[in-house]
Every structure is written in structure tokens, then in C-alpha cells.
Amino acid sequence: MALNIAVCVKPVPDSKHFDKITIDPVTKTWNRCGIPMVISDLDKHALEAALSLRDKFLGKVTVFTMAPETTKENLLEALGMGADEAFLLSDRAFAGADTLATSHTLAAAIKKTGPYDLVITGNESDDGSTGQVSAQIGEWLKLPHIMNVISLEYKDEVLHLNSITEDGSIGYELKLPAVIGVTRKVNKPRFINVMGMMKAKTKPLTILKAEDLPVDKDHIGLSGSPTQPGDIYSPQSGRKAEYLEGTPEEIAQRIVLELRKAGITL
């Protein structure tokens, strides 16, 4: 019952440094300089889900990412966590891809190196956070897909999972092969330990270009993206932040006054 699992991860700017991100007013792109890249947080939960399944049922965990070559280090982290093999899809032709083009490219790599029993992704990434790639990979692969997964268990060749809703959850039984998008609730990702970190370099990490993959040129990169980016700008706030000083009693009094003014009923 060994499982061949594919995990898609995305290197993103470290969210601790989000406040330092600046926008170039001319090119309208964000300034990558000095901001370290890490594996998106939810992707670690996806990776942990895959590793746990492999540890229990045997099999292999393969990691995919579509990103610039400089993100090799992030893939090494995934290998350090315990993944068995990694593919970095890197080509100028992939640049500027929106979620449809990104998912197409990832699906092509999965098709080429597969077949896989299960594809796991994070529900969304820390940066653009569209939360769309997971379902769209499922569509390109023509596989059933479920997102918002908060718990999963593989038993008797069926994946039992729960997916969160606004007022509770939905329980599914999913027959493989399938694609799932996981939330934070699903597990606690293991840390990379020293031994794992050292082993990472010995594991296969292959760079695949557009010509290596069964991609449709009309569906990759910026030209293959139905959505196109426009202007980028910082959000503006028109509030004047009146600096209220005084004793705690005076300040409390003013808050009560504002509540009354706003018509808040007690």
C-alpha cells in the first residue's frame, strides 16, 4: 500500500520581513533585495502530511516548485525535512505566470514524473495568497480535488478527510489518485534536524526547463496567463489618528463618549 506522493511548495518572502517590502515606483515590481525567501508556512503542513503518510505506509515524497533557480536552498529545506526528491521548474518562459499558468506547469511536471497517488499542497501561500493553485492543479490533472482540509487519515485505500466550512465541516471519503489542499489545523510540521539537513544535499534535486516538460506553450508564463498585473501601490488610509492623552479616567471617558456618538446600544 506504498504511496507515491507529490507536494507542491512555493518559496515566498519571509513574512517576518513583510513590513520591509518596498515597491519600485518605476517598474511597479516589488523589491526582492535583502528579503530572505522561505517555504510558505502552509506548504510545510502539506509536506508534513505527505511525510507522515510515507512514514506510515512507505512510499516516496517528491517536492515540486516553480520558481527562480535561486530558490534551490528552499528546496533543500524541503529535502532536509525528509522529502526524497525535488524538482525545480525554472525557466524564463515560466515567469509572470498567474495561477492558471502556474498550475498548468506544475501539473505538467507531475504528469511527466508520475504517476502519483496523491498530490498535496498548502491551501494558499503566504504572499499572493490566492488559494487557487491547488484546485487548478486538480483540474489540469483531471483528478478529484478537495481544499480547506483540516484533518486527514488514510485507511483501507481510502482517504478520509474533513474540510472546514464557516459553520463546521464536511467529511469526505476520497479514492486516490486525488489532489488536496491542507490548512494549518491538519498537523504540526516537523523541524528540520541536523541529520536531515546533512542528508538533504545527497538527495536528487533536478532542474526542469520548459523543453523538459509536456507544457502547452500557450498556457505558461505571462503570455499564458489570463490575468495580467497592473499598477501596484501601497494602501492609503485617510484617518487622522488624534493623539489622545490624559489620565486613564479621562481617556476612558472619551471612549465612552465616542461609543455614544456612534450610537452603539448597550
Binding site: N193, V194, M198
Partner: protein
């Protein structure tokens, strides 16, 4: 700051830092306040590969060096110097076995120590003195069945939690009338070995320190490390390299803590309408902290690289410990000054940093003893 870490060492630093920030940093203040050593973390720390980093893979370690061990210890001690010294002491037992034990002794004890399954300890200091090592009173007496140990040790880190204990003592006198010093392993659960009083320390809380009492503690003959008389060589090598470089890594972590907390505070604290980082007096403090951190860091990894390349360097390590531990006290004091009234509020960690720095000084030999070691080496 040391500029020549390999890519692997940089990755190691990143991996350890991530773990420390999530699993150690949030608890450091609590461990200090409650004066508890989180011994329940030992298997997790072992699983992370943070014990015995210099131990070859066949004995259960990652097979790295002193440099990597110190990178790890600096990261831990940036947040909890108390846990740092507890881990460092555990590593002393490992170092002693690795460098001087027989193949059987290594295979028997190293895997469990590296995995964190068992806690290690090294007991040397006695009421007669720490630096007056040669005059100790604990006896390791040869008998028909093995060795019997009698005596009392004090200021022993991990006293109440160590299971695999390594102890120094005397095995008679030589023809010149000088005490012959030996080192023995006391296996887990050996009767006659008890932890006595527990010390209430000023700093490095998060580790437990206390007395060890040996009362007719009997161990088999194969528990002796090396030969009778090797005690001095073994203890000096272990403490002189692993102990004192470890304390230096802990001190460097404390200096970095002071540096980072000081900068953070200076940028956030607004007085006279501007962050105080705009004031020269504050800038001088931050600059001194940064410089002392740079110096400690560069000095430390220079020294660990000397050891990793196969050279003994007790005097260099003494110099390292002398510098970094005193620098840590200076850094903590001036950071408290930077923070004004907030510096003495225990909600901030800098008060703990000062207490930890003060406690680092007598750990592994005071600054005065370090000076004596350095001078006696260069004035030979």
C-alpha cells in the same frame, strides 16, 4: 562577525534558529523565573541532532565539529543561557567518552547520550576548589570488583538530572607523594551516587546545579576511562576545549541577545518626540555592543576552527572565554543602561542576561584563572 561559515554551517544556523525561536525562546523567561531545567525536552533536542554534534555517525552523532556545536549553543543561549549550560554539560560527558573512552564504552553510552535518551553529567569541582584540581579529595579506589568512589562534589551542573555520570577522583599517590587522578563512568542507577543540596543561583537558571555525594559508590573495572593517572589529561582536555568554548558560545549568545534587544528597544522607544536610537549616547552603547559581538563571534569561530583542524588550543580557548564572558557582562550592563527604567523590569530579558553573564564567569574557571592559564602558556 565571523564571515567564513560554509554553506552547510549557514544552513545549520538557520535550521537551529528556527527551532530555538519556536520551542525555546517562548519559555526562557519562565525557566529562569521558576528555576527549572526542561529535562523533558532532552529527547526532542536529541532528535534534532543538537547533542554530541561532534560525535561521528557510528556512535549516533551527526559527525560535525566544535564549530557546529558552538553555532548551535550560541543560538540556544541567545534566548536561554540556562538551557545552554545544561546542554553543554551533557556534551562534556559525551566529549570525555568520545576522546578518551574505549570502543566498548563509546558504543555503550554515546548513542543514548546523543539521542537525548539519557542525560549526561561531568563532576569535577569540589569544596577544596575548582582550579585546585590536583588537590581533590574524592577517591576512586581500586578494589577486587572494580572501583569504589567516595567523596563530595559541588557546583555540579545537571546534578539532579544526570544519569550517565563521569566523575574525577584520586587513585592513591605517586612516588613523589602527589595525588594520582583518575576519571570514571558511574552508570545510571548505581547505588551510592546521590544528588545533595540544590543551589539557588543568581543566573543560568534553567539549569540545575548542586552537590553530588558518593558514598561507597561501586563501579565495575571497565568503567575507568583511560588509565589511573589520566585524570588530569582527560579533565583538562575536556574542560579546556569543550567546556570553556561552550561557555564562550553561551556568552556570545548572551551578547547577541543584549545587542538585539537593545536595538529593538532603541528603535521603538520614543522620547523627546523621536526614537532614542537617534541619540548619540544610545548609538555609542549600541556600537559597543555590536563591536563586542563582532569580536566575540570572530574570536570564537577562529578558535573552534583551530580545534576542528586537529590542534589543541587550551590557551586560545581560555583567552576566548576570558574575553567573551567579560564582554557579556559589559554588554548586559550597558544594555540595561540603554533601556533606562525599563532595563530593570523583569518583563524584559536584559536583567536575566546580566545575571546569566555573571554566572558564566565562574563556570569552567573564572576570568582570573583564564588569565593564569594564558600567561603560564605564553610565559613558558
Amino acid at each position: 562577525m565571523f564571515q567564513f561559515f560554509t554553506d552547510d554551517q549557514k544552513m545549520l544556523q538557520k535550521v537551529i534558529r528556527e527551532f530555538v525561536e519556536k520551542e525555546i525562546a517562548p519559555h526562557a523567561a519562565e525557566w529562569d523565573e521558576k528555576d527549572v531545567c526542561p529535562v523533558e525536552m532532552w529527547p526532542t533536542l536529541g532528535q534534532m541532532g543538537m547533542f554530541g554534534m561532534f560525535v561521528p555517525q557510528q556512535y549516533g552523532g551527526p559527525g560535525l565539529g566544535l564549530t557546529e556545536r558552538n553555532i548551535m549553543l550560541e543560538e540556544v543561549s541567545r534566548h536561554s543561557a540556562g538551557l545552554g549550560i545544561a546542554m553543554m554539560t551533557h556534551d562534556l560527558a559525551i566529549a570525555c567518552l568520545l576522546n578518551f573512552g574505549t570502543e566498548e564504552q563509546k558504543m555503550k553510552y554515546l548513542p543514548d547520550l546523543c539521542s537525548g535518551k539519557k542525560v549526561g553529567g561531568l563532576s569535577v569541582t569540589e569544596p577544596t576548589g575548582g582550579s585546585d584540581f590536583g588537590n581533590q579529595n574524592t577517591t576512586i579506589e581500586k578494589t577486587a570488583e572494580g572501583y569504589t568512589i567516595n567523596g563530595r562534589k559541588c557546583f555540579i551542573t545537571n546534578s539532579h538530572i544526570a544519569e550517565v555520570n563521569i566523575v574525577t577522583g584520586t587513585s592513591g599517590v605517586n612516588e613523589k607523594g602527589r595525588k594520582i587522578l583518575s576519571v570514571a563512568i558511574v552508570p545510571p542507577g548505581t547505588p551510592g551516587w546521590t544528588a545533595g543540596r540544590k543551589e539557588n543561583k543568581l543566573g543560568l537558571r534553567g539549569s540545575v546545579t548542586g552537590d553530588i555525594v558518593c558514598n561507597d559508590c561501586k563501579v565495575p573495572a571497565d568503567c575507568l576511562i583511560g588509565k589511573e593517572g589520566d585524570g588530569s589529561k582527560i579533565a583538562m582536555h575536556t574542560i579546556g576545549h569543550f567546556g570553556r568554548s561552550g561557555m564562550s558560545a553561551i556568552a556570545t549568545g548572551v551578547i547577541r541577545g543584549c545587542l538585539e534587544e537593545g536595538i529593538k528597544f532603541a528603535k521603538e522607544r520614543v522620547v523627546y518626540g523621536k526614537p532614542i536610537s537617534n541619540l548619540q549616547a544610545i548609538q555609542f552603547i549600541v556600537a559597543e555592543n555590536q563591536t563586542e559581538y563582532n569580536a566575540s563571534h570572530a574570536l570564537m569561530y577562529n578558535v573552534t576552527n583551530i580545534y576542528d583542524r586537529g590542534q589543541q588550543c587550551v590557551a586560545e580557548v581560555a583567552s576566548l572565554k576570558l574575553f567573551t564572558s567579560e564582554a557579556a557582562v559589559r554588554a548586559a550592563k550597558r544594555t540595561i543602561d540603554l533601556m533606562g527604567g525599563y532595563g530593570i523590569i523583569n518583563e524584559y530579558p536584559v536583567g536575566r542576561f546580566l545575571r546569566d553573564a555573571m554566572a558564566i564567569i565562574p563556570s569552567g574557571g573564572t576570568s582570573h584563572i583564564m588569565s593564569v592559564i594564558i600567561a603560564s602558556t605564553v610565559c613558558r
